[in-house]
């Protein structure tokens, strides 16, 4: 059975992706990882402040009685990790803008490949497709059927609706129970501060977060067009302008936006990468691998 977003050549490359295999074998996403979840056979790790999404059963009520504050008691436990894929499927992700496919296609190819790699390593992977809310959610699983379900969902998925990344992330956090790695694939047309407010539950719960900012070539320089009427793909608003005369200012504005995201990521120890959709997604694997090694 063939899937649109899991191409044979990608599978062949993933199979021969020794580096990734080694990483997986050494527990990049699975095994031998210190988990900060409570478990019977685990050792006490530390207290930490309660954050939304934590199970109330984990709250140490004795500490609450003494300090009137909610603290969660954490333990160390060796367990397989989970990989949570969050794919932005709002209308803006349908933009192609130059060579290559749309941003959503790029995100789907990457998500399919990563899901295949995770399942192949017997680790668990979940998928959330969102626009301004979570449209599809496939809980974490590590079976082949589970992978097929993810691939089918990606294939069925079509871009629509407006983006509300912060709101979608807040809702996604409520559905993810176990700590793991969160990978967000989006064009991030939202306020950076709001995005990170929504990411706080993941960060406080010890999730490793990767933000992959997908931009088509035309989103970098507006292209070399004459006077154009730009129509917002999400709101149908329009703006008439000469891209040549606005290119420099737009580039500065985009850079500022990216810089703000990058600065906030650095502050919160969140991985962040901007990538062009006219290239391949393989450098993203290298980036993940590099971080793990580090």
């Amino acid at each position: 059975m063939s899937y649109k977003y899991l191409r044979p050549e990608d599978v062949r490359r993933l199979e021969s992706y020794e580096f990734a295999a080694r990483l997986l074998a050494e527990g990049w996403l699975s095994g031998r990882h210190r988990s900060h979840l409570r478990g019977a056979s685990t050792e006490f790790h530390e207290y930490r402040a309660y954050t939304p999404g934590d199970s109330p059963s984990l709250v140490d009520w004795r500490v609450f009685a003494r300090s009137d504050r909610h603290y969660v008691k954490t333990f160390e436990q060796e367990t397989n990790l989970e990989c949570h894929l969050l794919v932005d499927s709002s209308s803006s992700m349908a933009f192609r803008g130059g060579a290559g496919g749309s941003k959503l296609e790029f995100a789907s190819y990457f998500a399919a490949a990563l899901a295949w790699l995770v399942v192949r390593g017997s680790d668990r992977v979940s998928l959330q497709i969102f626009d301004d809310h979570v449209r599809e959610f496939i809980p974490a699983g590590s079976t082949r059927q589970h992978l097929q379900q993810i691939l089918s969902t990606l294939e069925r998925n079509a871009p629509r609706g407006p983006t509300a990344l912060a709101a979608a992330l807040q809702r996604a956090a409520l559905q993810i129970k176990r700590r793991g790695t969160v990978i967000v694939l989006s064009d991030f047309y939202d306020e950076p501060a709001a995005i990170f407010t929504a990411l706080n539950p993941f960060i406080h719960r010890g999730f490793r977060v990767h933000l992959f900012h997908l931009l088509s070539p035309e989103e970098f320089d507006l292209g070399e067009s004459a006077l154009s009427r730009y129509e917002d793909m999400e709101t149908s608003e329009h703006l008439t302008l000469h891209p040549r005369s606005l290119a420099e200012s737009y580039r500065e504005t985009l850079n500022n936006h990216i810089t703000r995201l990058r600065t906030l990521c650095a502050q919160r120890q969140v991985d962040y990468a901007v990538t062009r959709t006219d290239g391949t997604f393989w450098p993203l694997f290298d980036r993940i691998a590099g971080e793990v090694r580090a």
């Binding site: 803006s92 992700m93 933009f95 803008g97 941003k103 983006t163 064009d187 047309y189 931009l215 088509s216 989103e219 970098f220 320089d221 067009s225 004459a226 006077l227 154009s228 009427r229 730009y230 129509e231 917002d232 793909m233 999400e234 709101t235 608003e237 329009h238 703006l239 008439t240 302008l241 040549r244 005369s245 606005l246 290119a247 420099e248 200012s249 737009y250 580039r251 500065e252 504005t253 985009l254 850079n255 936006h257 990216i258 990468a273 901007v274 990538t275 062009r276 290239g279 450098p283 993203l284 290298d286 980036r287």
Partner: protein, 687 residues
Amino acid sequence: MNLTFANPAWLLAGLALVPLLAHLFSKTRPRRREFPSLKLLREAMRQVTRVRKPRDRWLLIVRTLAMLALIGAFLQPWLLSRFASTSGISKTVVLVVDVSASMAWADGTQTRLAQATTAAEDVLATLPSNSRANVVWVRGFAAGELPEPGPNLDYLRDALRKATARPEAGDIAGALSLALKQLNSSDGDRELIVISDFQRSAWREVNLEAPAGIRLTRIAVGSDDAANLALAGLVLEPARPVAGQAAQIVCRVRNFSASPRRTTLFAEAGESRLSQAVEVAPWSETLAVLPVKFPREGIVNMKATLGEDAFPGDNTRFALADIRGALQVAIAGPDDDTTARTWLRGARALDGVAARRITPDEIATARAEVLLVSSWKGEHREALAAFLKGGGALVLSPAEGLDVAVAGEWLGQTGATGIIGVEKRDSGWGLKLAAEEHPVFSLFASGAYGDPAKGTFRSRTSVPLFVEKSRPLLTFDDGRVALTILDYPGTTDRPSAVVWWNLDFASSDWATRTAFVPFFGELIRHLASRTTAPALRVFEPGAPLRFDAAALDPSGVRLVDESDKPLAIAPENPRTPNRLATSAPATPGSYRWMSQDGTLDHAIVNFPDTESDLRRMTSGEQEQAAGTLVSTRERTRLSDLREGRPLWAWFLGAAAVLFLLEGVLLRIFQKQDAPALGNAKPTEVSV
């Protein structure tokens, strides 16, 4: 200024440009493009708009102006002067050009007259070829260069070039009247153009108005910066001094400037040469007094001159001095008349008085300044009247039997009747001063010369004497008039004095009193001072000098100026060959009518006082006056404007410059944009 279009039809053709303008200024239909989010675009646009909007505005302004200039060029506009004829309508213009003395003032390198004639020539140059024009000169006697406006403009231009400022006051009203008269008899487009410095002292009271149908234009020349020092007066005091008597030359120097001025005054009077430094405060005058004494009687030329300044015309002034010899007193009356004898004795006791007895027949030809007639019974009234009209003073002592009514009628007195008799009183009547303040009594104010009213009269005339229009000097102690002065009505400009003498020496000790001779002397001198000097011939500048040769042979009469240079003279009228006049208008100077026998008469001409104040009418006064005022700046452009100037080339040039400017602006803006685009690098993708 008028603006007209040679091709007004192009205004309609300009409508064809509307689509072009619409094309230029309308927005191009943009290509529709989808974009993920306009959020960043809007933010970028906000930044760019702040920079670009002024640029677009400048470009819009430049492009609009360029298009307007291009349209203007196609319309072929013409700029015409106010004097230009727009459609070949015949035009009649009378130029009233001021050539009075003030026009000789030089504002910098050019006199006001030169500016005026240049302006007049400019006006003539702007007239269409079928126009008629004339020049009327504002001078002592206003006159037109042509009898009526004519087409020979070259002749007028030549006359303007030859015009000189005249040392005379202008007959403004006469010139305007003449100009309007000539325009009224013309038809078509009529214009009266007055070109003058509009000297305030001359033009302030002028009612400058033009009737309906005649356009009035005033062209003001000159500037207000005209400081002048003038010799405004030259007189001798006393007016008729006796030879050898100390006199004073009094000169009036006026400063027409805002700063004090110093100068030196030079005066010549007969053989005397005098000078004096004079300092005059701003906008005021001062009197310079120079003592002088004339050794001989006769007419003496006087001349005073100020130091040289920028307006020399009014720096010199001329006058004639009538220096007389001894005071001539004639006494008529019966040989045995006590009054006459006493008068003669008294007169001979006076210094500087030559007294003589004359017979009644000599009264008419008596060459005397004071004539005393005793025992007058009303006879020789015609001879006495002739004497009085000749300027002499008369003292009449009435005789018994004189009809007061007859005498009163002759002297212009009414109400008195009766025949004069004599009334006597043993105790007599004393005298009283009736007018102590009268100059005759000023000598006696100190008391050193006695009391002139001291004396007793035992007889006097029985009829009350005239009181009407008389000024009694002495009265009897009962109030009856004893001595009074009447004005003889026969003379016009200055009435002669008649003294009514009702003081009988025969019945009085008055003549033996010490005060009598001084009183008699003061009375005689007072009467002599009232006598009219021989008419000295003073002429206004601009008028011809006239002389009535009377019985003389006119061919032997000549007129010479101060330096004995002869002037052209001719009979004023062929029917009166003895009435001679100069051919040219008189200019300031001193002149003598001569014959083989010597000097027949003198004449002097002085610079007109009104022309010395060179201030012009204020701008407010100028604005209030009728007609259109043309400024000096506008006037200087008249020659440039001529028949109008085509402006299409200027419009075309302006359009070219504006399009060039648009290109430069675009290039500048592109250069400003270029570094930003050139340095733009694709955003680094850090993965």
